[in-house]
Symmetry: C2
Subunit: 118 residues, 2 copies
């Protein structure tokens, strides 16, 4: 089992699956929405990651269907994936809070860029 922290594309994938099952292409659009257009999931990342996550038991193939003549694979978050996502978000939340605290509480060490005025 891989205990390494999730990279962002993977984190977003699990997040996009957290409320309901979706198919690959739908995930691209969903992630685009979640990130307010800042992250465009590439298909190379997507389908590789989906296979990997199924392999790891974090998600599973819910069903395969054909809609408007186009084949779809619908993925759902598995229990293990839900646990991992919950743990990961909690950890990240702590890191984010710490970073913001430090950014606010920075010292006089603070960098003064050459061109900056008082």
């Amino acid at each position: 089992m891989n205990e390494r922290p999730l990279q962002e594309p993977t984190l977003l994938l699990l997040t996009a699956l957290a409320d309901e099952p979706r198919h690959g292409y739908g995930l691209i659009q969903e992630i685009d929405a979640i990130s307010q257009g800042r992250v465009r999931m590439r298909t190379g990342t997507l389908y590789g990651a989906l296979d990997r996550l199924v392999q790891q038991g974090l998600i599973r193939v819910e069903r395969e269907e054909v809609v408007d003549g186009r084949a779809r694979k619908v993925y759902a978050l598995a229990e293990a994936g839900r646990d991992v996502l919950a743990a990961e978000t909690e950890r990240l939340r702590a890191v984010v809070a710490e970073a913001e605290r430090r950014l606010a509480a920075r010292r006089a060490h603070a960098v003064r860029p050459k061109g900056a005025l008082a």
Copy 2:
């Protein structure tokens, strides 16, 4: 310029430098503290990342000193690094909030593992 999202070791490095300058080995201990012992930064990751971040202009070598006969390099967060860290934390905070919202608002689609009883 690399616009890819930061991985966690890098995020923690910038966070650890956000309040005041520190030297390499001090960063290992600081990150250990920040993450409540959950992340042990390896030297292989550390010194590689420090070089890379200097190269990218996110941090800089503040000074070199000798304390108790041991040489140190003290790194400080640069303006660019501060900006990146601020942007990154803000983005992560949104993702974390979204993930938690979805985890809470999950549907009846919820996974029922094979062995589970009612």
